[in-house]
């Protein structure tokens, strides 16, 4: 059991390290490891766990709780989640604090100018990916357009709008 807990922790740790530019890219590898290789969850359970993590607030990679719990109960959930979030959070603290001390140097300013379009381009690619999976007919297209207008006008906070759209989807059977 201890060996398998260590394996679970290590798997989520290295998966967190290859998670660059958002969590979506790592999902196929995560599935391969936890379903096909180590059999911690079945394919059906993984799909349900992923859906649950999409339904709940917070990062999608919290799916680590679902897999860890299935494999080794509360301890498994805690270790998998700590492995997924803690080391990279510490790395981010160290790098952002260090970066803050360098920020005013000309090369650091140039770096920030050079990296900003990368971040925005990735965000725009995220819009494309989300639109391909989220907009598939005239009803969802209209809902997306309506949401854009309401958000642009600032008439509703984002979460209220998304909840309202979920309610509309449920009533309309989208």
């Amino acid at each position: 059991m201890i060996l398998d807990l260590a394996r679970l922790t290590w798997t989520f740790l290295w998966l967190s390290l290859i998670c660059v530019g958002g969590g979506l890219g790592v999902i196929p590898e995560l599935q391969r490891q936890v379903v096909d290789r180590f059999h911690w969850v079945t394919a059906r359970e993984f799909l349900d766990g992923y859906t649950l993590s999409q339904l709940t607030p917070g990062p999608t990679m919290l799916v680590s709780i679902f897999v860890g719990y299935r494999a080794h109960g509360l301890l498994g959930a805690l270790l998998a989640t700590a492995a997924m979030f803690l080391p990279t959070a510490i790395l981010t603290v160290v790098i952002t604090r260090h970066w803050a001390t360098l920020r005013d140097r000309p090369w650091a300013l140039a770096c920030e100018r050079g990296l900003a379009p990368i971040g925005i381009g990735l965000m725009a690619a995220g819009v494309y990916t989300l639109a391909r999976s989220g907009v598939h007919d005239w009803a969802t297209g209209s809902l997306a357009l309506l949401a854009s207008v309401v958000l642009y006008g600032g008439w509703l906070p984002p979460f209220a709008l998304v909840l309202a759209a979920g309610f509309v989807g449920w009533i309309a059977g989208l």
Partner: protein, 180 residues
């Protein structure tokens, strides 16, 4: 580093952001919380942290929480911020997981998720448009932004590979020049 915002405020706002960030494109909720609704950060500062969180390994939403927290209140801001961001959703998901495995609760909310997914597309679209308007200055930035969009979006190039290709090019294009 001096704190711009009190820790208790960070915990409250990040906790609420974590609790209300539904669907995909979760960084858009943060933009709304710390740039649009509160004068905590300028748009370009948010984009710096967003970019860093995307380039560093790890779940980018959590990385973003850390980076924004560090900027607003030092390492304590980063630590408390990311905890406040993650813990509410983690507890909810743990509760649902227990129900799933012990009571047989199954997620069957496809229609609601389709509606939420469509609204999130609108949310992320508006947020990205605001960021582009606030931060993309000049042809070089536009070129790099468009290239990374096309590579990762329509062409489905692996994100890591696209970043590896485009970061050196963008840094070279934006290198400090004499007299600038």
């Amino acid at each position: 580093m001096t704190g711009r915002v009190r820790l208790s405020r960070i915990v409250k706002v990040f906790g609420w952001t974590g609790l209300t960030s539904l669907g995909g494109g979760r960084s858009a909720y943060f933009y709304d919380a710390v740039v649009m609704r509160r004068p905590w950060l300028k748009s370009h500062e948010f984009i710096q942290d967003l970019t860093l969180s995307q380039l560093l390994p790890g779940p980018s939403f959590a990385n973003l929480g850390v980076a924004l927290g560090v900027r607003l209140a030092g390492w304590r801001g980063g630590a408390w911020g990311v905890l406040a961001l993650i813990v509410p959703g983690a507890l909810i998901l743990l509760g649902l997981t227990v129900l799933y495995f012990h009571v047989g609760f199954a997620p069957n909310a496809t229609s609601a998720m389709h509606g939420m997914g469509a609204a999130v597309v609108g949310l992320v679209f508006v947020t990205t448009a605001r960021m582009i308007r606030a931060s993309i200055r000049g042809g070089r930035a536009l070129l790099v932004g468009a290239a990374i969009f096309v590579l990762v979006g329509p062409l489905h190039v692996n994100t890591g590979l696209a970043v590896l290709l485009m970061v050196p090019l963008s840094l070279w294009l934006h290198r400090p020049r004499s007299g600038s």
